[in-house]
């Protein structure tokens, strides 16, 4: 099995799924990301990332109930899997360890 990889945007979405635990679905992820990043995103980018994450096994999904404001369509909720969590952990570790190696640099 090839080395699992995680793109930058995917990592953000995965983090957001984890953060919004059990309340994460397309629109909530989008809105939170927009808020944190302070820039506009397109919903399709979020969906593409979610599909890829699901394919890689980092998230799993379930359908929620039907709500009126969605034109009778169900919400699809995402939860992070153990594999996803481990991926995040290893990414975090990698980044922190690398960060720690940065010598003290002063930029005046």
């Amino acid at each position: 099995m090839k080395q699992q990889s995680l793109g930058e945007f995917e990592e953000l979405v995965l983090l957001m799924v984890a953060a919004l635990h059990d309340e994460a679905y397309g629109v909530s992820i989008l809105e939170n990301l927009e808020e944190k990043q302070e820039k506009k995103l397109n919903i399709s980018a979020v969906h593409v990332a979610l599909k890829r994450l699901e394919d890689k096994g980092f998230v799993k999904s379930r359908f929620g109930g039907i709500t009126e404001d969605r034109g009778g369509r169900r919400k699809k909720f995402y939860v992070i899997t153990a594999l996803g969590k481990r991926m995040l952990d290893s990414q975090f570790e990698l980044r922190t360890s690398l960060y720690k190696q940065i010598p003290k640099i002063s930029f005046g």
């Binding site: 397309g26 919903i43 969906h47 034109g71 369509r73 699809k76």
Partner: protein, 878 residues
């Protein structure tokens, strides 16, 4: 409230994968409503833009397999099951396919025949533009039409005054063709030909092998058929070769045309000579007036005009032309019309009776066509019957298929595909049957029909035919079988019930009604034939030879020839007459006698005969005596037939005088009645004999030879031939027998009889096949019941009765339906014949009894088989 953009949404729904649609559409909609609060326009724009962004491989559904709902394997399964069923019940399958195949074969043959009849004369390219000029008029207060002989001046009139209406005006002599001896390069052949107008080849679109359409412009030219050319010159180009007609007229071959096919007016015509030549050679015709009708005239209307327009334009042509002619004064009262009879009606709409168009031939075509359809329907009924009868066996299968999830629609498709399979097999068998039967059928129907296997329309119509038959035959089982309720079928409580067999019984009744009707019709047609054949003909047909006098030598060497013939010892007498014995060709008015009602315009068949004619043909005198050469006054004597005496209402006619005035014949004198003969049947034997006058006056064109009694024709012919070949070596010895000519008059009716007999036999055969299948099915179904009955002491006879009686009842009902129908049809049909048999109730009774016997035989085979079976065997299982 504003909705998300509809088009974008539809687009999304169209391309998006089903499993993602909920999420994507839901999220988009939710966002849309949120954005709406800011700006509806922006919300819409974002929505649309987003939808477009989803148009990428991850989200697009697979269109490749979208429409295939796996129908092919399902169909394959249907056919597999169908094949297994066919093979498993090979007996039923055979009955089914054989019955259907013979029904289809009949329908196909009839179809080809009808097509051939309807396409008569379409060989001619100008089919739609050609018409025959005929006459009509008011006689004795009644309008009559259908006179196809026209007078000579009419030709000139149409060619000059009315020229602009026509592209071609083609006169024809002598109608129906005349026989002549053609000779060239030492060969001599007797051929039938016509004198025709020079435009004929173009008008009738001759297919030329050699030469051009203009070939008849040559005064001494002759166009010959390909077969004639082959017979004389082989494959060589015969253009410019010299030829002699009747060993007298020298002509040059100026064209060779392809022989006309059988279903054309000109079939059998082997040569054409130009009209101009006839006018020069027989110049007397040009001096004939409006009162002498002896020519045929064909026209092709001008390209710019319709046939109706031209017909209207020339309608009064004759009346306008003759109104100032002195000799036609008396005829003005008839108010003649000149009519156009279009080519499309020559063949099927040409039967006139009492001057009114009858629906004779076309009616016959539809009659045969209807029989074809009937036989096909019979075969389809068989198919339906057997399939529904076996439905109980298939009921479990239907139940299981339904429980597994078959929709009713699928079951319908299944049963249709099954019936199409059978129909396909049957069609293959039918093609084979038709292929084998076609030569015989052609002989029977006097046609030259070929299987049009290379024509696309044949295959297209065959396909339509298969579809139609498949639907017709498969519809009932498909809708009936698929309607079963799975629960009741599988629980075993399913019983076809009392009413399930009612449609089946109705179908059997229909089948037998049609069959019994066909049997009765055939029987009556044969009775009618026998009745007419046994009608007294008034002369002796046996051993009477008829020869056309094809050369002047018959007259110049007459005495020597007759003496030589008698010297052979095999000839009893020799005579001559103006026309053949097979018809009265000349009819004239202008007769007056004492006691005649002045307003009565009497019309007689006029026959000029030699003094020896009566002795030679053997006519029978009722009163008076025969002509005699010894009595000089007999040149002004006449013999009448019985019909004429009755027509004239004469008492004691012999010795009375009749005055005959006729310009065309150039007579105006008294004739004395010397004798009365029994009616001789010369025209159609189905019609009353025409009043006829015989006299020894005029030109005799036919030689009659009576073979001595007790001498066989086979022994006499060589001796007679020797006399002719030695005395007239240039003329081929060409003769006909009177009895054969007479028999030919029945050809049409005999053909109807034979065709009807064949169809009736097939109809009965198919019906019996069906009955056989049904009976075996019923026997099989009741096998346990029969076993129990036997154990309880029923005899074989009891059981046989039990199994047969319901079928007998059905056939009895059919007879009750068929007999009144047949009576109605036949009494109408027989009215067409003036001389006809009465319908005998015995015919009906025997047809009904016949049908019953056949039914009993068919059913009994199965019934007895079931009844003699050992009950142990049938009861042991379960």
């Amino acid at each position: 409230m504003i909705q998300p953009p509809k088009r974008s949404l539809a687009f999304l729904r169209w391309f998006c994968r089903e499993d993602y649609l909920d999420e994507i559409e839901g999220d988009l909609t939710e966002l849309f409503y949120k954005n709406m609060n800011e700006s509806p326009r922006k919300a819409q724009w974002i929505f649309m833009w987003s939808v477009l962004k989803y148009f990428r491989p991850e989200f697009i559904k697979s269109f490749r397999n979208y429409h295939s709902t796996n129908s092919l394997p399902m169909l394959r399964n249907y056919f597999k099951i169908a094949m297994r069923n066919l093979v498993k019940h090979y007996g039923y399958s055979f009955i089914n396919i054989a019955g259907l195949a013979s029904g289809m074969a009949v329908a196909l043959l009839v179809g080809l025949w009808v097509f051939d009849e309807l396409s008569f004369n379409t060989y001619f390219k100008n089919y739609d533009r050609i018409a025959q000029v005929t006459k009509g008029g008011t006689f004795e207060g009644k309008y009559r039409q259908g006179q196809d002989y026209i007078p000579y001046p009419l030709i000139t009139e149409l060619q000059t005054t009315y020229r602009q209406n026509f592209k071609h005006v083609v006169p024809v002599a002598w109608a129906g063709g005349f026989e002549a001896v053609l000779s060239s390069e030492g060969k001599r052949l007797s051929r039938r030909g016509l004198y025709v107008g020079e435009d004929a080849p173009e008008m009738f679109s001759f297919e030329m092998t050699f030469g051009a359409w203009a070939g008849l412009n040559e005064l001494h030219g002759i166009m010959i058929s390909e077969s004639t050319s082959k017979a004389f010159f082989g494959d060589a180009d015969p253009l410019g070769k010299a030829m002699k007609v009747n060993n007298d007229v020298e002509v040059t071959v100026t064209g060779v045309f392809k022989d006309f096919p059988r279903n054309t007016e000109f079939h059998g015509l082997q040569f054409f000579q130009p009209w101009k030549f006839l006018e020069k050679d027989a110049s007397w015709i040009t001096s004939k007036g409006w009162d002498d009708h002896f020519l045929f005239l064909y026209v092709q209307v001008a390209d710019s005009k319709s046939v109706e327009e031209v017909a209207a334009a020339i309608k009064k042509a004759e009346m306008i032309a003759i109104k100032d002619l002195d000799y036609m004064k008396n005829e003005l009262q008839y108010d003649y019309d000149i009519l156009l009879h279009p080519m499309s009606k020559w063949h099927l709409y040409s039967n006139y009776k009492e001057g009114l168009l009858q629906n004779g031939p076309i009616q016959f075509v539809w009659f045969i066509g209807a029989i074809g359809v009937f036989v096909l329907v019979l075969a389809c009924i068989n198919f339906m019957n057997l399939s529904t009868a076996r439905s109980e066996k298939r009921a479990k299968e239907v139940g299981i298929r339904k429980t597994i999830g078959s929709a009713r629609k699928q079951l319908i498709v299944q049963f249709f595909s099954e019936s199409f399979l059978v129909v396909l097999f049957a069609f293959a068998a039918c093609l084979l049957i038709v292929f084998v039967a076609l030569p015989g059928f052609n002989q029977l129907s006097a046609k030259a029909i070929e299987m049009p296997l290379d024509q696309s329309w044949f295959w297209v119509s065959s396909l339509a035919f298969i579809l139609l038959t498949g639907c017709l035959a498969g519809s009932y089982p498909a809708f009936y079988l698929s309607s079963f309720k799975p629960v009741s079928v599988l629980k075993g409580t399913f019983r076809a019930g009392r009413y399930a067999s009612i449609p089946r019984k109705t179908l059997v009744v229909m089948q037998f009604s049609v069959s019994v009707m066909l049997i009765i019709c055939t029987a009556v047609i044969y009775q009618q034939l026998e009745f007419v054949k046994s009608r007294p003909v008034g002369y002796d047909r046996e051993g009477l030879l008829i020869m056309r006098k094809k050369s002047g030598e018959f007259d110049t060497k007459r005495d020597a020839l007759w003496a030589e013939l008698k010297k052979t010892g095999v000839v009893a007498s020799v005579g001559e007459s103006g026309g053949d014995l097979s018809g009265t060709w000349s009819h004239n008015g202008g007769f007056n006698w004492e006691g005649k009602d002045p307003s009565f315009e009497a019309n007689f068949a006029t026959l000029n005969v030699s003094h020896e004619f009566g002795k030679t043909v053997g006519w029978q005198f009722i009163d008076g005596r025969d002509f005699s050469r010894d009595i000089a006054s007999d040149s002004a004597g006449i013999v009448l037939n019985e019909a004429a005496v009755e027509y004239m209402k004469l008492q004691d006619p012999v010795g009375k005088t009749v005055r005959w005035t006729n310009r065309a014949w150039g007579v105006d004198q008294d004739f004395r009645i010397v004798g009365i003969v029994k009616d001789m049947i010369m025209n159609s034997p189905f019609e009353p004999v025409k009043p006829a006058v015989f006299f020894t006056y005029g030109y005799e064109g036919v030689l009659l030879i009576r073979i001595a009694p007790g001498v066989s024709a086979g022994a006499a012919l060589p001796k007679i031939e020797k006399v002719f070949t030695s005395m007239m070596p240039e003329i081929p010895f060409d003769y006909r027998f009177a009895d054969q000519q007479f028999a030919a008059k029945f050809a049409n009716e005999e053909r109807i009889g034979k065709l009807a007999a064949v169809f009736a036999t097939l109809a009965i055969f198919i019906s019996c096949l069906g009955l056989f299948g049904l009976a075996s099915f019923v026997a099989e179904q009741r096998i346990k019941e029969i076993g129990i009955r036997k154990v309880l002491g029923a005899s074989v006879a009891n059981l046989w009765r039990m199994l047969s009686q319901q079928f007998v009842l059905l056939v009895l009902i059919s007879c009750c339906i068929a007999i009144p129908l047949a009576y109605y049809v036949l009494s109408n049909g027989l009215k067409n014949y003036e001389y006809h048999t009465d319908i005998n109730w015995l015919t009906f009774a025997s047809a009904a009894i016949g049908a019953l016997i056949i039914t009993l035989l068919t059913v009994s085979f199965q019934a007895v088989k079931a009844a003699v079976m050992n009950p142990v065997k049938s009861l042991r299982s379960e």
